[in-house]
Point group: C2
Chain length 172, copies 2
C-alpha cells in the first residue's frame, strides 16, 4: 500500500503561484513528453486532495480525473463534481478505508497543507518531485505546514529531461 | 564574473533549522566525500554573506574561511572577526567593487534573505544546490524574501551521490 505525493515544483519550492495557477509548468511543456505522468496515473487506484487543489482544478472547466475515484478532504466544499467524494474524516482514517477497500496505490494530488499533515502523520510513502527550472518567489508551498519534524528520505531514482526538469523519486 | 549561491538544503527547501543549525547535514557526511566543496572553494576569490549566516558560523568557534576575503553585509554586526570586512553598501554596489578589484568568482554563502534580494536584483549567476534527502518542516528558507518574480533557470549539470544527496547546478 503506497501513497505517493507526485508533484511539480519550482526550485524555490512552490507548487502553484500566488493565485493558485500553474503557468510555470508551461516552461517545460514539450511535444510528446509527459514526464512519466500517464504511466504514473495508470498506476494509481485512487486520488486524494484538499480544498485548494480541488478549487484550482475546477478552473480547468473539465474535471481532469474522470473515472478515477477521488476523495476530497474538505470542510468547506459543499457539492463536489461527480467522480469526487467529499470526506470529512481525518486523512489517516480515510487512507485506511481506501486501502481496506482494495486500493494499492493512492495519489496525493498536491495540496501543500494536506501534504504537510500527511507527512507529519507518516502517511506518505513516496514523493515524486519534478523540479522545474524556475523560481517563483511566492505561491503555494510544497509543504505548507510548520511542523518541525525531521524526516529522512531515500533517493530511489532520478531522471533528467532535456527541458532541465529533474524528477526525483524519494521513499520515506 | 560569476556569483554562485552554493548551498545545501533539505528537500522542503530549508538551509538551516529553526535555531540556525545545520545538523541535518550529518546525515550525508561520508568519509572522503566533500560533495565538490574543496574544488568549489578554491575556485572562489571572495565570499559574501548576511548577518544570519555570519552569526551561525561564529558558533563553530574557529572562523572557517580564514585567508579568503569575506564581505559581511550587515547593519547590526559591529566588530567582525579578522578576514571579514563589514559592509553597509547595497549588494549590487558591493559586487561591482569586488569585481572591479579583480575577483572573478564570488560565493554567496547562504543567507536566505540576502539570497532573495540578490536574486531579485539579478546578481546571482549560478546556483549550486545540494539537495539533502531529508525534510525539516521549518527553519531558514533557501530564499526567504517574498518577491513574486518568475526567474527562468538552466540546469547545467547534476550529480547524484551514494548518500542520496543530489547536486544541481543551475545558471540564471
Amino acid at each position: 500500500m503506497r501513497c505517493t505525493y507526485f508533484v511539480a515544483a519550482s526550485l524555490d519550492g512552490f507548487i502553484a503561484d500566488s493565485s493558485g495557477g500553474v503557468d510555470f509548468l508551461k516552461q517545460v511543456e514539450a511535444e510528446g513528453e509527459d514526464y512519466g505522468y500517464q504511466e504514473f496515473y495508470s498506476s494509481v487506484d485512487a486520488l486524494i486532495m484538499g480544498t485548494g487543489t480541488y478549487n484550482s482544478l475546477l478552473k480547468f472547466g473539465v474535471w481532469p480525473y474522470a473515472g478515477k475515484p477521488t476523495y476530497l478532504l474538505s470542510q468547506t466544499v459543499l457539492n463536489p463534481v461527480s467522480d469526487v467524494v467529499l470526506i470529512k474524516e481525518h486523512p489517516a482514517r480515510l487512507l485506511s478505508q481506501i486501502y481496506g477497500a482494495g486500493s494499492k496505490h493512492v495519489w496525493l494530488v498536491g495540496g501543500g497543507k494536506l501534504a504537510s499533515t500527511m507527512l507529519a502523520q507518516g502517511l506518505i510513502t513516496d514523493i515524486v518531485l519534478s523540479l522545474v527550472p524556475v523560481m517563483l518567489g511566492s505561491g503555494v508551498r510544497l509543504f505548507s505546514g510548520r511542523e518541525s519534524r525531521t524526516t529522512n528520505l531515500t533517493l530511489k531514482n532520478h531522471q533528467v529531461y532535456k527541458s532541465g526538469l529533474i524528477q526525483l523519486h524519494y521513499q520515506l
